[in-house]
């Protein structure tokens, strides 16, 4: 029910994994780099919120990867 309130379509993400692969970047650090609140990063990682296109691109740029390597539609595999 809580997911259904904010998320219309299931989008998977590797934000948490990529954070740890980038010298264990914290949620706070990532939030500061992309200009959002820490709660926003938490909501994205938990799948409660699908970020806007602009925010998705900013997050991908922080990790130095493409948007598709960070976010995937349900049923797709990341990076494939």
């Amino acid at each position: 029910m809580r997911e259904a309130v904010f998320v219309r379509e299931k989008v998977g993400n590797r934000v948490r994994t990529l954070r740890f692969l980038r010298e264990e970047m914290t949620q706070e650090e990532l939030a500061n780099k992309v200009g959002v609140a820490r709660q926003t990063i938490i909501a994205i990682e938990k799948g409660k919120y699908n970020p806007s296109v602009a925010l998705a691109i900013k997050i991908a740029r922080v990790f130095g990867v493409s948007v598709e390597e960070v976010f995937t539609l349900a049923g797709d595999e990341a990076g494939s």
Partner: protein
């Protein structure tokens, strides 16, 4: 609008707080107006883009929670309206009717204005106003008298229909109709116990509809502008 800087907001906040304290000390009734302004200032400044203190997630959470609060408020007002009107058989409280109807109209108008072009929003409001008020007029019983009483609203419905072909002409007629109702049925200055339903739920919405049709645009019409093709 460009967001104000933090320094500007702090200075404005200090001046505002000083005014509120002054009013409180003098025990002025305007103190209560200041309290209401405090409650609505930040949300209002966010809506017009002056205050940008929330990111997209926090904004979404704020909007959704406001929506739930709106639904609860409408439910309570609706229940009071139905209970007093039908169960007790009396007149629903005037203030409840006003809150219910104005809020529902603002919701409808905001939906139209945010989701559609100005022309379509204006037409939708004209259909709503013409149809709702005609039904209200005919609610007293169908007769030549009530039909004549409802004729201005029939005229609005005709203008709404014709606005598809001649939006600006229909808009001018509708806007003038709104101005006419304001002049004919509203006594200025308005007082609390005057009939506020006519200006806020008849005149102003009709004038808004007319203005939108006059200003109208058709940006969502695919044939309005050719798609630019870049040749590589």
């Amino acid at each position: 609008m460009k967001p104000l800087s933090t320094k500007t907001l702090i200075i404005a906040g200090i001046i505002y707080a000083a005014v509120v304290v002054l009013l409180a000390i003098t025990v002025s009734p305007r103190f209560y107006l200041a309290l209401i302004a405090i409650a609505f200032a930040r949300p209002a400044l966010r809506e017009v883009g002056v205050l940008a203190d929330r990111d997209e997630w926090l904004s979404l959470v704020s909007y959704r929670s406001s929506h739930f609060a709106f639904l609860v408020a409408m439910l309570i007002a609706g229940l009071i309206f139905l209970y007093t009107g039908f169960v007790e058989g009396g007149e629903p409280p005037y203030e409840v009717s006003l809150i219910l109807l104005i809020t529902l109209f603002v919701k409808f108008a905001a939906l139209q204005l945010m989701g559609r072009t100005r022309e379509r929003a204006g037409r939708a409001i004209a259909w709503l106003m013409g149809g709702a008020w005609l039904l209200f007029a005919l609610g007293y019983g169908f007769s030549w008298g009530t039909l004549i009483g409802g004729s201005p609203f029939i005229a609005i419905l005709i203008c709404a229909f014709l606005s598809r072909r001649w939006p600006r002409v229909a808009g001018i007629v509708i806007a003038l109709g709104g101005v006419a109702t304001l002049i004919a049925f509203v006594d200025f200055p308005l007082e609390y116990h005057d009939d506020l339903i006519v200006p806020f739920l008849l005149s102003l919405p009709i004038m808004l509809s007319g203005a939108l049709l006059i200003l109208g645009d058709r940006e969502d019409d695919d044939e309005a502008e050719p798609v630019p093709v870049v040749e590589h």
